[in-house]
């Protein structure tokens, strides 16, 4: 048995005519036009509370309208726009600037002055601001989180004026998604005799700048005593790029401390498929792991359609679509955590 099963073959071999062969009109499929007509009240909510975020002419994300005067939350790591970034980096030695971010709200009202106020790298959420008034902000769900099998609605194909929708269901347990840390100190680590040592220090890295050296023994990160790599990683998981990390260490027989300004781990550009499932998954998100807590749904999004609201049948927001993980899995930040993230971003802007 090699790898994961499901043989991938193109089903075009099925003939349209022939005995016993019938095909359902595409308008009637789960996200077909006719099927979705029944959701007009939910479509209206999505029309009002979701924004379209463009980088130049290309839509890079949707957004969730949080306030009447134009505070919007969206997915941070797609804001640069993959293909736009590729165009901008070009072949000339001069780096072309990225085209500006613009936002459309409601029936197509264009906002050209978009400020990226602050980014929460841990949740991959950006707080944007446009100068607006009278917008319809999102209403959050009051009940506990929707259970397994609950129907949810998200942004579907959209034009400047019209937000279409897509339906799906909550499809797995809400949980933490592990993954690499979002920030790095610039060290190689080694566990020896129940202690944590720095094995190597990256030349231009944060640890080097802070004065850490190979063979230093790390004993504390912020307020947490550490003796294992995993314990240090737990603390790093809570940091955003540019944050300070207080490190206590032993060099020789002396105890000392320093402050490390952690840096962003570079996210692979273009999100190349890493396994067979990725190859079946179309365009998935660049950042699709290392989330503290996500809800999982089966709504099929892609890399340019994250960042918008996920609502229930009553039109209340149950989350923000944060990542297209693969063909079968889409993640959303649950409403409770989203409210916290918003509060923190607003307080610290």
């Amino acid at each position: 048995m090699k790898g994961i099963f499901i043989t991938c073959s193109v089903c075009a071999g099925l003939t349209v005519s022939g005995l016993g062969q019938e095909s359902l009109d595409s308008n009637l499929r789960i996200n077909g036009k006719r099927t979705l007509e029944v959701f007009s009240p939910q479509q209206e909510v999505i029309q009002n509370i979701s924004a379209l975020v463009y980088r130049g002419y290309k839509r890079v994300a949707y957004g969730v309208i949080m306030s009447e005067d134009g505070y919007i939350l969206t997915k941070a790591s797609e804001l640069e726009g993959r293909s736009v970034l590729a165009e901008a980096s070009g072949e000339e030695s001069e780096i072309k600037p990225l085209p500006p971010l613009t936002i459309r709200i409601g029936d197509g009202v264009l906002y050209e002055d978009v400020k990226v106020v602050k980014v929460d790298a841990r949740w991959d959420i950006a707080l944007l601001k446009v100068e607006a008034s009278g917008l319809t902000p999102v209403q959050f769900v009051e009940d506990p989180e929707p259970s397994h099998g609950s129907v949810v609605i998200a942004n579907g194909a959209s034009s400047r004026h019209l937000r279409r929708i897509k339906m799906g269901v909550v499809s797995a347990h809400t949980r933490k998604i592990t993954g690499p840390t979002l920030v790095v100190m610039g060290v190689g680590l080694e566990e020896k005799d129940g202690k944590l040592f720095i094995k190597s220090v990256t030349k231009d890295g944060a640890a080097n700048e802070a004065g850490l050296r190979a063979e230093d023994q790390i004993i504390q990160a912020d307020e947490t005593p550490v003796a294992k790599r995993d314990e240090l990683i737990e603390v790093l998981m809570l940091k955003n790029p540019g944050d300070e990390l207080k490190v206590k260490y032993i060099r020789g027989d002396k105890k000392a401390s320093c402050v490390v300004r952690v840096m962003a781990r570079p996210i692979a550009n273009g999100a190349a498929p890493v396994n067979r499932n990725d190859s079946m998954s179309g365009r998935f998100s660049r950042r699709r792991d290392s989330f503290p807590r996500v809800m999982q749904v089966d709504v099929s999004m892609d890399d340019r359609s994250c960042g918008g609201p996920l609502i229930n049948l009553s039109g209340q927001c149950v989350g923000l679509v944060i990542a297209r993980a693969n063909r079968a899995e889409t993640f959303a930040v649950p409403a409770e955590e989203l409210k916290e993230v918003y509060k923190n971003l607003m307080e610290n802007k």
Partner: protein, 341 residues
């Protein structure tokens, strides 16, 4: 889209659940080409929620340690329906992982390498949660085009914190001739062999393969497992009897005569005396010694070299055989797995 109303009332639903009750009317939302109110969407949601937990308990991850697939328990003794390309052979050992992480040993039974159907049996003696199966293609309750369905599976492998993944969709293609269903429940690697349920929580398909487009998700119709052959023998009985059916492509038939035991023999009065042993061969590894006299294999007497050669011709790589030998008056018995020559 035409509605076919099959009033022949041939069979009421028959499954493995004794006393399982199902409504005799088809669900309202399946009678319309598309739901025409939010109430009907809510009815679909309610139906899903009613059956989800129970059907998840019977959905298992299947692994041999290297890859993962999914299966579904269809009898309380632990009979599991899955895909042929998951088991890939008869009488092979697997582990089955339940939703809560508990693992059980299992063995593959028969398979149909052309339709991708297979059975597996959990060897532990206990009662398991199980689901009811749609076993007949022509009945009032049969799956039809446009029916709402949901799929479960261990997409990407077993993840205890996540559990199996549910997806909602509709039947978008039906092919009675090949007994396949296509739905828009998006499947991915790891889902193979997993269950497709209708909105009454009855098993209607087993996941087989996907196409490039998101709504190309192919399932073996559950009734394929029960198809009678031209002699009227039900496939189910042949699968239970561990038969390898078909010539692929979903599994490769083991080649007979490829199995190697690694002994040289000379005929003696009571059997075949072993005159040489290949050092790397399984017989040597298990403890057979030069000088041992082979009396029988699998209970069959071995008196001539030809008998041994003929016997081995019928065996395949990986097959286990039971040797009975005489070592200076003492009877020795060994089980040896044949290897590739």
């Amino acid at each position: 889209m035409k509605q076919r109303y099959n009033w022949s009332c041939l069979m009421l639903f028959l499954g493995f659940a004794l006393g399982g009750s199902h409504s005799l009317a088809r669900l309202d939302f399946n009678e319309k080409s598309t739901p025409d109110s939010i109430e009907e969407i809510k009815a679909i949601e309610a139906a899903l929620k009613t059956h989800l937990e129970r059907t998840r308990q019977a959905t298992v991850c299947i692994t041999n340690g290297q890859g993962f697939g999914t299966g579904v328990i269809v009898s309380k003794e632990g009979l599991v329906m899955t895909a042929a390309h998951v088991t890939a052979g008869v009488d092979k050992e697997f582990k089955v992982i339940m939703e809560d992480g508990t693992e059980y040993e299992a063995k593959s039974l028969g398979l149909d390498s052309e339709t991708d159907a297979a059975l597996l049996k959990i060897t532990e003696k206990k009662e398991f949660p199980f689901v009811v199966v749609e076993d007949k293609p022509q009945s009032r309750m049969t799956t039809r085009l446009g029916d709402w369905v949901y799929s479960l599976g261990h997409a990407g492998g077993f993840d205890k914190a996540r559990g199996s993944v549910v997806r909602l969709g509709r039947i978008v293609r039906l092919n009675h001739a090949s007994a396949t269903l296509q739905s828009d429940c998006k499947l991915i690697g790891g889902d193979s062999g997993g269950p497709l349920f209708n909105m009454e929580g009855i098993l209607v398909g087993i996941h087989s393969r996907v196409g490039v487009v998101l709504d190309q998700n192919m399932h073996v119709a559950s009734y394929d497992f029960f198809k009678p052959d031209k002699d009227g023998v039900k496939k189910w009985d042949r699968l239970l009897a561990s038969e390898f059916l078909g010539l692929g492509p979903f599994a490769q038939r083991p080649v007979k005569g490829g199995g190697f035991i690694g002994v040289a023999v000379e005929e003696v009065e009571e059997g075949l005396k072993i005159t040489d042993l290949d050092e790397t061969a399984p017989a040597h590894e298990e403890g057979v010694l030069v000088g041992d006299v082979l009396l029988s294999i699998n209970g069959e007497e071995m008196k001539t070299k030809k008998a041994l050669v003929d016997f081995l011709k019928q065996r395949t790589v990986g097959e286990k055989i039971h040797l009975k030998l005489n070592r200076a008056g003492e009877i020795k018995e060994y089980t040896v797995a044949l290897v590739q020559r």
